[in-house]
């Protein structure tokens, strides 16, 4: 029976390939739409869930959350490192992670932070940074710029390419992160001290450059005199800034919900500060785009209904195309149960192959889209399968087979002599 079913399929190769392609496209779109919407939603929530408080300068909550969680947008500004020290001494706090950002390497953002920020991230090579001017780079940065352990990077001021180069303070690569398919892959991590030192040195360089410029413009010794005292004063100021620079944000993991509430209230009173709960902010972001999400879901449902309709129609057309064969077999004396079985096997194979191919295509599309979504800090896990995806595949399979039964039953009521 299987042999005949295969032979019968073999003589309709072209038609069956078209049927499989139609089913694969329909099913793949349905699976993909659902999987992406779920993974993006849960990705946002998971990323935001680890830290319960983020403190930054007053401004946009969304900007602060997106900048610290996904390294997108610009930092709101800076706040004093004293807040980090205060929080480190606070017994209600489990973890405090300072976060600075302001430089880049060929467009890859440089984040000054402690090693705690990379907790849970695996190093593919090397070690975690421990000294100033050491850095750990994301896998994509390593690949894109052919960087390896020991490579040196000359960073530039600003978050985009073309800024003033910090040539005097190159960073040395001591570690390369394993690929995470998140925004971490595109970032360079270094101690906060590196960022502070780079900027203080850069400030001195700038001031000196300004002075040279002023001299060239005929500034008199009386107007601005360089003394040893001044030089000492520059050096002292630079050292202080290196030791206690400012940070763009502080990520806090409190010990309990009470601790979280108290800390939020206390730091929230300070008008210079913005205190946010990243989960809440991202939930608000998601709620703000709730209409878009609903539209996506409605589209998913419409796509699925269309899929069911298209696949049913394709299967029915295929069956009606086979009605001459069925009539022929009936005239010879082949029983309806055998004929049914042959076509159920045939359409079952088509349905099974289409379902598997649709699943494989959806994973390929997920992998291809992963790179794009990773820029938002969300990993599209190709191995992630949701129960509804299995349900969609089961429905695709059933609707590939069910019309066969309906059609053959309908044909069995006719005598077949006139087909």
């Amino acid at each position: 029976m299987f042999k005949f079913a295969f032979k019968n399929m073999a003589i309709k190769k072209a038609k069956i390939v078209l049927i499989v392609i139609s089913i694969v496209i329909s099913a793949c779109v349905g699976i993909l739409a659902y999987n992406i919407s779920e993974q993006v939603d849960s990705g946002f929530k998971t990323t935001a869930a680890y830290y319960d408080i983020i403190i930054g300068p007053s401004g946009s909550s969304t900007q602060l959350a997106m900048n610290t969680m996904f390294f997108t947008d610009k930092p709101l500004g800076t706040i004093s490192y004293e807040y980090v020290e205060q929080l480190q001494k606070d017994t209600r706090v489990n973890k405090v992670v300072p976060f600075t950002m302001g430089d880049s390497y060929n467009g890859a953002k440089i984040v000054g932070t402690t090693a705690d920020f990379l907790e849970g991230k695996e190093l593919r090579e090397g070690v975690m940074y421990s000294e100033k001017f050491e850095c750990v780079i994301g896998s994509a940065v390593a690949e894109k710029y052919s960087l390896s352990l020991g490579s040196t990077l000359v960073t530039s001021h600003g978050l985009t390419e073309g800024g003033h180069a910090h040539e005097g303070n190159p960073l040395t690569v001591v570690g390369i992160l394993d690929e995470t398919k998140t925004a971490y892959d595109n970032v360079i991590f270094t101690p906060c001290e590196t960022v502070w030192a780079t900027h203080s040195h850069s400030d001195v360089e700038s001031e000196e450059a300004q002075e040279v410029l002023d001299d060239e413009h005929g500034e008199t010794a009386d107007e601005h005199t360089h003394t040893d005292e001044d030089a000492h004063s520059h050096q002292e100021s630079s050292d202080t800034r290196e030791e206690h620079g400012e940070v763009c944000a502080i990520l806090v993991k409190s010990k309990s919900f009470n601790a979280y509430s108290q800390l939020s209230a206390e730091y929230g009173e300070n008008s210079k500060l913005l205190v946010i709960n990243p989960s809440e902010v991202l939930r608000e972001v998601l709620e703000n785009v709730d209409m878009s999400t609903q539209i996506v879901y409605i589209l998913c449902i419409i796509i699925l209904i269309m899929n069911i309709f298209i696949i049913s129609v394709i299967t029915l057309l295929n069956m009606y195309d086979s009605k001459k064969e069925i009539a022929l077999m009936r005239l010879i004396g082949i029983g309806m149960n055998k004929i049914n079985f042959v076509y159920i096997i045939q359409n079952g194979i088509i349905g099974f192959i289409s379902t598997i191919l649709a699943f494989i295509c959806s994973r390929i599309c997920l992998a291809l889209m992963g790179g794009y979504v990773a820029s938002m800090g969300i990993v599209l896990d190709t191995a992630k399968i949701y129960p509804l995806e299995i349900a969609i595949m089961a429905v695709v399979f059933v609707i590939s087979v069910l019309p066969t039964v309906v059609c053959t039953l309908n044909m069995s009521k006719k005598d077949g002599i006139n087909e």
Binding site: K7, K12, R330, I332, I334, K338, V342, D415, G416, I417
Partner: protein, 213 residues
């Protein structure tokens, strides 16, 4: 032995055919002659259990086929009747062998297929697609499919209808050869082939044509 008693068949166009009683003996060959629409093919289809008469009985080997379920009729047809259809009823895209192998779906023994194809002179066409065969070759494939299962009854509806006389005559000779000791009932318009059959039945006289219902 096949006995047709008081059979009448109604059609969708509100006409009917009434058949006089006829008996077909085992081991004999019958040629059914008659005008189009007089009920020749309908009789074959009723004997084969494809159509059911409104009244009367069709007895085959003492069993009343009209009381049987469609499933039983199908089973009887696949096991005991070899039906050669007017338009061959072959799947053009499949090979000769695949067309005959369809019978295996009902576990029909087709082990003697090479011998049958050889006897019909189409053994070399065994793996050719039916669509690439000539009309005569297609007819022989239809005959091979009908007789490979060694049926007790062979029904042939216009077996030479698509062939010229010479080829048609050759096909009839082969059909006679393979249907020895069986009941052969063949519908044909060509009276010249009558000499090969044991009996010739004028269906115009048997049915008297169609009547309005």
């Amino acid at each position: 032995m096949i006995k047709i008693k008081n059979v009448s068949k109604h059609f969708a166009n509100e006409t009917a055919i009434d058949y006089s009683d006829i008996t077909f003996e085992k081991g004999k060959s019958y040629m059914l002659l008659g005008a189009s629409g007089c009920g020749k093919s309908t009789l074959l289809n009723m004997i084969a259990g494809i159509l059911s008469p409104e009244t009367g009985t069709i007895e085959i080997a003492g069993e009343d086929m009209t009381n049987k379920s469609q499933k039983e009729k199908d089973k009887f047809r696949i096991q005991k009747i070899g039906y050669i259809f007017q338009d061959f009823k072959l799947i053009p895209e499949m090979t000769v062998m695949d067309n005959i192998s369809i019978l295996r779906l009902e576990k029909v023994d087709i082990s003697g297929i090479d011998k049958v194809l050889d006897a019909l002179g189409i053994l070399d066409k065994k793996n050719k697609k039916v669509k690439h065969l000539s009309g005569g070759e297609k007819q022989r494939v239809a005959i091979a499919r009908a007789i490979v299962k060694k049926p007790e009854i062979i029904l042939a509806d216009e077996p030479t209808g698509n062939l010229n006389f010479a080829i048609g005559e050759a096909v009839i000779k082969q059909l006679m050869e393979v249907s020895k000791d069986k009941t052969l009932i063949a519908v044909t318009h060509d009276e010249r082939l009558g000499k090969y059959f044991d009996h010739i039945i004028d269906m115009n006289q048997v049915t008297g044509g169609r009547r309005d219902v």
